[in-house]
């Protein structure tokens, strides 16, 4: 009979009218975030050996690692993520051999100013043992510092401004090791 579906519809909305509501009053109450949630990154600095695997695994060249040679060992001075370009795919966390890089459950990464967006996980001075290492670091200032040696070739195209995408076209033959 015509009209049956119309009445059925009204019945359903009437039933829903009294059904429990699902709204979560966000800032006051929050959903529980699952274990594997892809939130803000945390780096266990003590475990990290600055190998650069994560930077290499990243599809969008988000991670930049700065390190200096202190004595015979590499010392990480900076670990920055341009989080505005991050895809939160988790490939970096997966690539970490030392279990140093993790996701946290913190999903609130908004910033008031654009310049505050990049996520700085490590920023510290290198211990000043061999003096001659200090100079290049001071010269570079806030600019990018030389990349870890083994990957210097792979990383270079990513660094200078506005060259990333130019390189992308030729990248396949250049970087195909």
């Amino acid at each position: 009979m015509f009209g049956k579906g119309l009445i059925k519809g009204l019945q359903i909305t009437w039933k829903e009218f009294w059904a429990p509501k699902l709204t979560v009053q966000y800032p006051d109450e929050q959903h529980t975030v699952p274990e594997r949630f892809h939130g803000r990154f945390v780096l266990d600095v003590d475990k990290c050996i600055a190998c650069g695997l994560c930077a290499n695994a990243c599809p969008n060249k988000v991670i930049s690692i700065e390190k200096q040679k202190v004595g015979k060992k590499q010392y990480m001075t900076g670990y920055k993520m341009k989080i505005q370009y991050c895809l939160f795919c988790g490939l970096c966390v997966e690539s970490c051999n030392k279990d140093a890089l993790h996701f946290s459950k913190d999903f609130n990464m908004n910033q008031y100013f654009y310049r505050d967006i990049p996520l700085v996980l490590v920023e510290r001075e290198a211990p000043a043992e061999p003096l001659e290492e200090e100079e290049p670091a001071a010269k570079a200032g806030d600019k990018e510092k030389p990349k870890p040696k083994p990957k210097a070739k792979a990383e270079k195209p990513a660094e200078p401004a506005a060259q990333t995408e130019v390189a992308a076209g030729k990248a396949s033959d250049k970087e195909g090791q």
Binding site: G3, R36, P59
Partner: protein, 367 residues
């Protein structure tokens, strides 16, 4: 003398029902459509070009960004193509997890499909109730993969992670509830006479044209063509499940809508079977894959059934660790190609019904 004049109407890109980034240049005679020219490309990001500068694994997150409503199916198509190229064996447990997450994605995508269809015709409540259930699926996927929409769950050779503890039970519980929800949508949307009046015998697509124009997915099956790759050419472990392929009769908007609705029921059935079968399968979720993926020189074309239709990946390898060329056959893109002929002769209000019955995702159209 009375003289009528045709006029143009820019339907979009700033329009509530063109999904944000799509334009149809309509030529109208009164409210009747004379011609409708779809204009896309507003969301073009050049994913195919980007893929050429990424390693094989790094392409996976980009495939998410195409059909972000059913991201797992996009992942799956790509990784299976690369696996075919390299001849990698996938562990059985991973295959089951792929099926489960893929079908969950399919249900989530179809929920949006039917919800948006209802919304475009004016039933807002149906849309939000669909979102309510989709949210539950998103929660489950979030537990499994860590992300809600852009899952990046599939890996070449398996999946990223095994199911967390108790996840399969929660999944089973939701799947047991699902038929009840589907019945609610059937009552609220499908059974509604106004909805039927708006969609029946609108945008009719004959099986011959549907095949000729390479349409796929529910758009093709709504016309009664039995072509579901899960059945026609089973990939993965799909040959182990018992399910049906719902078909339409008239090839109108209503049939396409109903196909999605019934497909959700079948997806629920597949997941239920997969949850039963996965219990017997133990082992790793990722196969033996070299650290640096360097497929042999060659090319491969692999296609799977996504929620929108057939998604195919054409991958060319030059022997390096980066693909020489990746091309994606995007179902939304090809389904949209026939829109012009489909809307001709119908009213302005029908354009919306037809457009949403094709169920496009602009991320996929524009790639």
């Amino acid at each position: 003398m009375l003289r009528t004049q045709e006029y143009f109407l820019n339907f979009g890109p700033q329009h509530p029902s063109t999904h944000g980034v799509f334009q149809i240049i309509l030529t109208l005679d009164g409210e009747r459509i004379v011609k409708g020219e779809p204009v896309c490309g507003y969301l073009h990001r050049g994913i195919e070009k980007l893929a050429e500068a990424r390693t094989y694994t790094q392409v996976i997150p980009y495939t998410d960004r195409m059909d972000y409503l059913a991201a797992m199916l996009q992942n799956l198509g790509y990784v299976q193509a690369v696996e075919k190229l390299m001849g990698i064996e996938v562990p059985e447990r991973a295959e089951y997890l792929r099926v489960i997450s893929g079908e969950l994605s399919r249900i989530a995508s179809h929920l949006i499909g039917i919800g948006v269809n209802a919304l475009d015709i004016g039933a807002f409540t149906g849309f939000l109730l669909c979102f309510r259930e989709r949210e539950k699926i998103m929660d489950l996927l979030e537990e499994l993969t860590g992300s809600r929409m852009t899952l990046s769950y599939a890996r070449i050779g398996g999946v990223a992670d095994d199911a967390p503890e108790g996840w399969l039970d929660r999944l089973k519980k939701l799947m047991d509830e699902m038929p009840g929800y589907i019945e609610e949508y059937q009552g609220l949307i499908t059974g509604n006479e106004i909805f039927q009046a708006r969609t029946k015998f609108i945008g009719i697509l004959s099986p011959e044209t549907a095949i000729n124009y390479s349409l796929s997915g529910p758009t093709l099956r709504g016309s009664g063509v039995n072509y579901d790759l899960r059945k026609a050419r089973p990939y993965g472990v799909y040959d182990r499940f018992d399910f049906e392929v719902p078909l339409g009769e008239n090839g109108d908007c209503f049939d396409r809508f109903l196909c999605r609705m019934l497909e959700m029921e079948q997806s629920v059935r597949i997941i239920q079977q997969a949850v039963e079968q996965i219990k017997e399968v133990d082992g790793p979720v990722i196969g033996k894959v070299p650290k640096v993926l360097k497929p042999p020189k060659g090319e491969v074309y692999h296609e799977i059934e996504s929620s929108k239709g057939i998604i195919g990946y054409y991958v060319v390898s030059d022997g390096s660790n980066k693909p020489y060329r990746v091309h994606v056959r995007r179902p939304s893109f090809i389904n949209l190609g026939y829109l012009d002929e489909m809307v001709r002769g119908y009213l302005l209000a029908d354009v919306v019904a037809i457009l949403s019955s094709i169920d496009i995702v602009l991320g996929e159209v524009d790639c």
